[in-house]
């Protein structure tokens, strides 16, 4: 099952990125020291993934 990526907004600000894979849900903070976030940025830059807008 492929991972799904989506921005999460709260009070009109992006607070994290939701990564969903089946019943496993992760929230990645917007912080370049977080290796998940850094990897997501690279995957986006490489065109490997896209991040859906927040609901």
């Amino acid at each position: 099952m492929a991972k799904q990526y989506q921005y999460v907004n709260k009070e009109s600000e992006v607070v994290c990125i939701k990564v969903e894979e089946g019943n496993k849900v992760s929230f990645v903070p917007i912080d370049t020291a977080n290796t998940h976030y850094a990897k997501i940025l690279k995957q986006v830059a490489d065109g490997d993934i896209t991040i859906a807008e927040a609901d």
Binding site: V15, C16, K24, V25, F27, P29, T35
Partner: protein, 434 residues
Amino acid sequence: MPTNINGNTGIDKVQDGTVVSADIATLDASKLTGSIAAARIANNTIDSAHIASGAVDDAHLATGITASKLTGALPAISAASLTNVPKDVTVGGRKNMVINGAMQVAQRGTSSTSGGYATVDRFFTYIESCEQLAVTQTQSTDNPNGFGSSYKLDVTTAETATEANDQYEIVTRLEGQDLQHLQHNSSGAKSVTLSFWVRSSKTGTYCVALYKRDTTRNITSTYAISSANTWEKKTVTFAGDTSGAIDNDANRSLDISWKLLIGSNFTGTASTTWGSTTDARSANGHTATWGSSTSDDFYLTGVQLELGSTATDFEHRSYGEELVLCQRYYQILVDGGADKAVGTGFYWSSNEVDMHHRFDGEMRAAPTLDHVVGTDYYRMSSSADSFNGFSGIQYTTTRSCNMYISAYVSGTAGYTSDIRSRNADSFIAFTAEL
């Protein structure tokens, strides 16, 4: 023999052997000038009172002083007076830069068919290409004397034909701020020694490497597994790098990797000295064909990286110490089951619950929240307000975050309750791995 009388002054010569001791006056020092033949001194008659203080020099000491002469309290000896002590050996305090080197801590579980971080903390498997290879990783109780655990990899599907870009290895990563004493990028760059215990069903020559991510430089070495299915201790010393600074921060700076399955792209260029990383420098000298059979396994424990060119005994730390060190990178809040405490939440509004959570010690970076969701997996217990999972995290720092639920819940603003897990699969963890 005639006796000569010398006028009125006395006897000038006496026949040899004829003066008895009773007829000799007390001898004063003036009569004892010159050397006394050793034969004239009775054995074992000179005591310490007849040797001038400080008069016995090195040349008059027998070679070597036996241990029996060194019993009791020894005098203090200045470190400056010691010689032949291995340079840079840490004789006190913490010396092992590797966390969980004895594979004691396995917060994620003891067995997994997944790659990456899946069982023992701080160690993970990295795979590139390898279309067929499947491996089960385990925190094993098979270990050499003096250790209680090891990291085991067991091939369940073999890589039948190793291709040029295949790569499979064990890796552990270290923060730059913990490596400043290596003094890289200076003329005083320090050597480090890596020691570890390995056991494998597959003999051969294996590569082990250091990689500095800040400046993409690496160095490699090889070791031999010479006896199948037998624990062996290996020691490798890497020179200091006079180039390539290590950043003084909390980010990934040094990888230690044990190469297991390596394609030809990664072995072609000598890399036993520090240099800019290329694919061909990644695993030079590796010839073992691990992973080509389902009989292949690999065990690792007792991993120690220390300053200097000597491998000293492994620094055993308690489970509690290692756990705290590991929790800087990964920590679990809830691991399955009903009625496990998650925290205390409050209704921020009628349809939002907030739960402020403080981590168990400061984490390396603002962590990712990982959790398993499902119908009514969690609940505000007092109000029986169940929810499937959290909606997000905010205000996340290395110390704390706010976990909130903005779906499923409905209550009175300001109302407070403890939050509990409700399902055997409920799971919440925080990850700040390198």
